[in-house]
Amino acid sequence: MSDVNVTVLLNAMGSGDPQALDRLFPMVYDELLQRAARERRRLGGQATLNTTALVHEAYVKLARNPDGAYASRAHFYAVAAKAMRHIYLDHAKRKLAAKRGGGADHVALDAELDAASDPLPDMQVAHAEQVLALEDAMDRLAQDAPRQAQVVECRFFGGMNVDDTAAVLGISPATVKRDWTVAQIRLYRMLS
């Protein structure tokens, strides 16, 4: 993976190339995952993962042009938000699969292996179930109101502020606020 690629792709994304995102996503996903795993190893299994710092470090590593400038921060964070969403989803799936599958010994062993190698902090089963349910609700929301789902992705998984979200989705900050409020209500109703 070359650094130039990421900046080129980010710029392409900024100028509206829909394929740029598809090519960018796996790079950012991998980088976040690797960083998370490294950080987990460094800090030991019990530490909390600092996702904010993680995303920023990935940005610093990937989005720097050869001439030292950075490609659009907002666009990168939007991709990172999507990647983060998938990382959490995959993690939750593994957690639940480990709980359901195999005999008791097998599960215990798996859990131990997971704890050692998993890039994310251990997720409570209840939280894993919430993540899966949220994912389901997000899919439904995306069919009904795709822009609202995008806003949730940026705001919730990416921790982006209103202005950045507006910039990246090409809508007004007022619309972001509106979508975010309404989407929370909708998702919550689907979940309860």
Binding site: N50, R155, T181, Q184, L187
Partner: protein, 753 residues
């Protein structure tokens, strides 16, 4: 046309008290949906906040907004009056304790946490331990409770400004900053002694009362649900700036995390900006974890070096390298404070007499011994309620007065004396009676000891007042004479006091000078460190061995495009901040031009022409510049006052370049020719500072270009590191036991085979 979504968004974001009115303004068929949506919104946003916290997502909530709907309601015995603050761990309201009739600050836990009884229990336990802290610098916690599933804390309500508020007026003066930070340290120290760590110290949590008393708020409340990480994730976005590296990376945070936060605040109070600034929390956190803050002395000049060092130590990324505890912090800050007090005193005294100490130090260095004019005339203040004493003094000491040695100012009592002291900053010695109307002598002494001013007071009092005289001596009187006055004795005593005062003033001046020279050197050293390269292109090496604390030379070796390398050696006269800056500018300028492909001769010409076009600095720069193509061997050299440039051929012969050229900035219209050379494989090139060839040996003779050439001829190994090592050794042998006065700086390259 507004859609239902538009209406929902608009109304949920309104103040709760006006929502119902707004709903009535919407189309009738939407009313039910709107009421539904508004009531789900509270739960929905609570749900997402909590989930973000649980998953440690960056969107975890930062503040709990206050709820205006609570105003006027009563919780336990507290009637809520108005919201006064919002925080990571709940909103704070001003409330009236209806039982005791006093006003309190009532903190309500966020409802998202109320759902988790374990978290709540833990939170309350923490608050309980904080409430046991009884210290003047810690906010008093009155009561902790849980009413209808809502946890709350009732605390003392202070009328004052937060430190955040005070800092908004700009950087604080050193005295005020020290005063505030010492009180915070005292409060934190007391808490640490009882095992309570704050973990969320920030200017918003420090209240400064009108009388200057500091109160730390939110003590021990910062810890929260699951394994204390709510602090870290939950408050991340709001207070990232004060987070310690261990908090930012999710590691265990002990009491030294408060030591760090104290450092961030002190830095901010003095510089007016945080050490790790950034518009986005991600950038701030990145800085906390990875970057060194810009030195305080770079942000604000004139700060005591010791203070800058204390801040640097508070802000060590590794907790082990910080102060071990608050008592150490306090001791270091107290030391700074007493030194700062002495310094400000002397600064006033020498103002207008001596000029900036650093400038004097830069001249010949002999001016320190000359006594300033105010040491020649002694100004005396005589305080006595008997007006005849004035006549007596003027008569008895008329010779001294006529010779211009002494000058008297008279006051009738302590109050009058203070006024006269204000009006006459030149007064050095005070003669005072003890029994006087309005303000007596003992009170006056007490007031004098609080003044930031070097004075010597001699008590003149009746023999029977021995007890009072003893008290006066304890309050800082220098000596005493008894009435009736023996004027011979008084004259001796005054002379003694004046001599003592003069010694004291000289010592202070010396200290002041030492401090500013030290600061100046410190700045120069930092510039130097910043410009010397840390890595070298293949086949090049540079080294600098400064003779003194400040290096007046520099070197650089860098690549230009694919094939070429640039080499620079430069030197200026003098070892001051100014000369170091000139060096740094020259280096940066030439390096930049060379890297853009400008030929070395033209680059040096541009440096001469373009910087200081109107007014040449009175320091000339000796510069040697070479650009060598490592593949072809083609090399161009420019000498601007730098004579020692030599080529070492692979066969062992040495060819010195004879052209030394004009130094940069000595004449406005100089130009420089390039010497063209061809380096065969394994040929080497050396540029050396003049300090290398001029270093004087024990015999008083310079090392000389001839000896340098001879040293190079004898080389067996011509790799750049070996060349430089041999020259340094050879110069060292030559100087022997004589004092090394010149900086030896060299850069060398060898064309690879």
């Amino acid at each position: 046309m507004k859609t239902l979504d538009d209406w929902i968004a608009e109304i949920t974001l309104l103040d709760p008290t006006v929502r119902e009115d707004a709903i009535r303004g919407a189309p009738v068929d939407m009313h039910d949906d709107l009421r539904d949506a508004v009531s789900s919104y509270i739960q929905a946003s609570g749900f997402f906040e909590k989930l973000a916290l649980d998953l440690h997502l960056p969107s975890a909530p930062t503040v709990t907004p206050s709820n205006p709907a609570l105003v006027g309601t009563t919780l336990a015995q507290y009637r809520i009056i108005e919201p006064i603050g919002e925080g990571g761990m709940g909103a704070v309201y001003r409330a009236e304790d209806t039982r005791l009739g006093r006003t309190v600050a009532l903190k309500l836990l966020p409802s998202s946490m109320g759902a988790d009884s374990r978290a709540q229990e833990r939170f309350l336990r923490e608050a309980q331990s904080a409430s046991s802290l009884d210290h003047p610098n810690i906010c008093t916690i009155f009561e902790i409770g849980n009413t209808d599933g809502r946890a709350w804390i009732a605390m003392a309500c202070y009328d004052g400004s937060t430190l955040r508020h005070l800092m908004e007026r700009g950087p604080m003066d050193v005295d005020s900053a020290l005063d505030v930070v010492l009180q915070i340290a005292a409060g934190l120290g007391a808490a640490h002694a009882r095992g309570v760590v704050h973990r969320d110290v920030k200017p918003e949590n420090v209240m400064v009362l009108p009388d200057g008393l500091v109160k730390i708020l939110d003590f021990g409340l910062a810890k929260g649900s699951d394994d204390a990480t709510v602090t870290q994730e939950g408050t991340m976005l709001g207070t990232a700036g004060y987070m310690s590296p261990e908090q930012a990376s999710g590691r265990r945070a002990d009491h030294r995390t408060d030591v760090w936060a104290l450092g961030v605040m002190l830095y901010e109070m003095l510089a007016g900006e945080r050490p790790f600034p950034g518009a986005y929390p991600q950038a701030v956190l990145y800085g906390i974890l990875n970057a060194d803050p810009e030195s305080l002395s770079g942000r604000r000049s004139g700060l005591p070096l010791a203070l800058v060092e204390v801040v640097e130590r508070l802000l060590q990324k590794d907790p082990d390298h910080r102060f071990a505890g608050m008592q150490d912090v306090t001791a270091a800050l107290e030391a700074v404070r007493s030194r700062a007090a002495a310094k400000s005193e002397v600064r006033e005294r020498i103002q207008g007499i001596a000029g900036p100490a650093a400038l004097r130090a830069e001249s010949d260095g002999d001016s320190g011994g000359t006594a300033p004019p105010d040491d020649d005339v002694l100004y005396l203040l005589c305080v006595d309620d008997e007006p005849e004493l004035e006549l007596l003094m003027q008569q008895r000491f008329r010779k001294k007065i006529r010779a211009g040695e002494w000058q008297f100012v008279f006051a009738l009592d302590g109050q009058d004396a203070l006024t006269k002291l204000d009006a006459h900053p030149e007064i050095g010695v005070i003669l005072t009676d003890l029994n006087m109307p309005r303000m007596d002598g003992l009170t006056l002494l007490g007031r004098l000891s609080e003044m930031d001013r070097p004075l010597r007071t001699v008590v003149v009092s009746a023999y029977g007042d021995l007890e009072k005289i003893r008290t006066a001596m304890n309050r800082g009187a220098y000596d005493f004479v008894t009435k009736p006055i023996d004027f011979k004795d008084l004259e001796v005593t005054i002379d003694k006091a004046a001599a003592d005062l003069a010694t004291y003033r000289r010592a202070l001046r010396g200290q002041q000078q030492a401090v500013s020279i030290h600061q100046e050197m410190d700045v120069a050293r930092r510039i130097q460190d910043a410009i010397l390269p840390v890595s070298f292109p293949d086949g090049t090496f540079g080294f600098s061995s400064p003779a003194g604390e400040i290096n007046a030379t520099f070197y650089d070796a860098f690549t230009i495009g694919e094939d070429r390398v640039g080499l620079i050696v430069g030197e200026v006269h003098g070892r001051t901040v100014t000369s170091t800056l000139l060096l740094a500018m020259g280096q940066t300028f030439v390096k930049g031009l060379l890297q853009q492909g400008v030929a070395p001769g033209e680059a040096v010409g541009m440096l001469n022409r373009m910087l200081f076009a109107d007014d040449l600095p009175n320091v000339a720069l000796n510069l040697g510049v070479a650009v060598a193509n490592r593949s072809s061997g083609e090399t161009r050299v420019v000498q601007a006052g730098l004579d020692a440039v030599m080529v070492i051929r692979s066969g062992g012969s040495v060819e010195p370049l004879t052209e030394s050229g004009t130094p940069v900035w000595s004449e406005t219209d100089s130009s420089w020719d390039e010497t063209e050379l061809s380096l065969a494989p394994e040929d080497a090139l050396v540029l050396a500072s003049r300090g290398c060839v001029r270093a004087l040996g024990e015999n008083g003779q310079p090392f000389s270009a001839e000896r340098l050439a001879a040293t190079l001829r004898e080389l067996e190994d011509t790799r750049p590191t070996a060349i430089i090592r041999s020259v340094l050794r050879s110069v060292g042998d030559h100087v022997g036991s004589a004092v090394m006065r010149d900086d030896q700086t060299m850069v060398a390259m060898r064309r690879e085979a």
